[in-house]
């Protein structure tokens, strides 16, 4: 059982959370100006690092808030969690 520290509720079992993919993917400022290829990049293409990765998580069985987490994809260690709207903290990888 992995514990994920919700920024509001504290450490909770992983089963209480839903994964939301890469964090900080900004919606295009002018979507209609994008080419099909640029739109496809925005919708479908995500980073796939070996190491720290900023992701969105939802505490769906708890406070139901979205937040961001930096997870090391090699070890599944959660290096940092932070509330939506806050900048990504520096982490040592």
């Amino acid at each position: 059982m992995q514990l994920i520290p919700c920024p509001w509720c504290g450490p909770r079992e992983e089963a209480e959370f839903h994964y939301g993919g890469q964090a900080h993917v900004a919606y295009p400022e002018d979507p209609s100006a994008l080419t099909d290829e640029e739109w496809a990049q925005y919708v479908f293409f995500r980073d796939n690092p070996s190491g720290p990765f900023a992701e969105r998580w939802s505490h769906s069985a708890g406070c139901r808030r979205w937040f961001n987490a930096v997870r090391d994809t090699r070890s599944h260690d959660l290096l940092a969690v932070y509330r939506a709207g806050e900048p990504m903290p520096e982490v040592a990888s």
Binding site: W8, A15, E16, A61, G62, C63
Partner: protein, 195 residues
């Protein structure tokens, strides 16, 4: 003609009572429940004084007080979300009062009384029984009186309130109540054997 009210666990009264003395379990049906979304501190304070109870400011806690509507509990459900719980039949006047307190601030007050029923649990084994299906640390040091957590109990979404050293209230969705009652009966089995 209006149909008679039947609580989600009306058929479980005897089976739940039979769990004593390992655990005293009873349903507290039909309580008035209002889901409140509000973030402005002034509106939160105004709602609190209208009900006679200060809204909880600490995540995963609840507050209780007494006012115009009798005993009222306010549960923290999220940074801008609360559940107001009171005696049965008060949802309409409480909704009016809370909407008045909200005024022009952004927010919502919704009657969700039918969404959940309440189970009152009491007994020296209450934390042990719940630990069979709940990953939240329920040791009195980690979950003292006043704690209110939303979590999973035997994979069912619940709101768990610690109301006393050996007392817990569980709020469960009405359609999951019978499943939870059956699970509780099973989880109590080993404590009944030694009781």
């Amino acid at each position: 003609m209006t149909a008679d009210l039947t609580s989600p666990l009306a058929g479980w009264t005897d089976r739940l009572a039979a769990l004593a003395p390992a655990l005293t379990v009873s349903e507290v049906p039909f309580r008035s429940q209002l889901t409140v979304r509000v973030s402005d501190p002034g509106a939160v304070a105004a709602m609190g004084s209208a009900l006679g109870v200060v809204f909880p400011s600490v995540p995963c806690t609840f507050t209780a007080g007494e006012g115009e509507f009798g005993a009222v509990e306010v549960l923290w459900l999220g940074p801008d979300e609360f559940l107001v719980v009171a005696a049965p039949g008060l949802q309409v006047p409480i909704e009016e009062v809370l909407r008045g307190a909200l005024g022009d601030f952004r927010g919502s007050v919704v009657d969700t009384s039918a969404q959940r029923t309440t189970l009152a649990l009491e007994g020296p084994h209450v934390r042990d029984v719940l630990a069979h299906g709940c990953s939240v640390d329920l040791h009195p040091a980690a979950a003292p009186v006043g704690v209110c957590v939303q979590t999973l109990l035997a994979r069912t979404g619940i709101v768990l309130l610690v109301t006393g050293e050996d007392r817990v209230m569980l709020l469960v969705r009405s359609s999951f109540a019978e499943y939870l009652a059956a699970w509780l009966s099973d989880a109590c089995a080993e404590y009944r054997a030694v009781a």
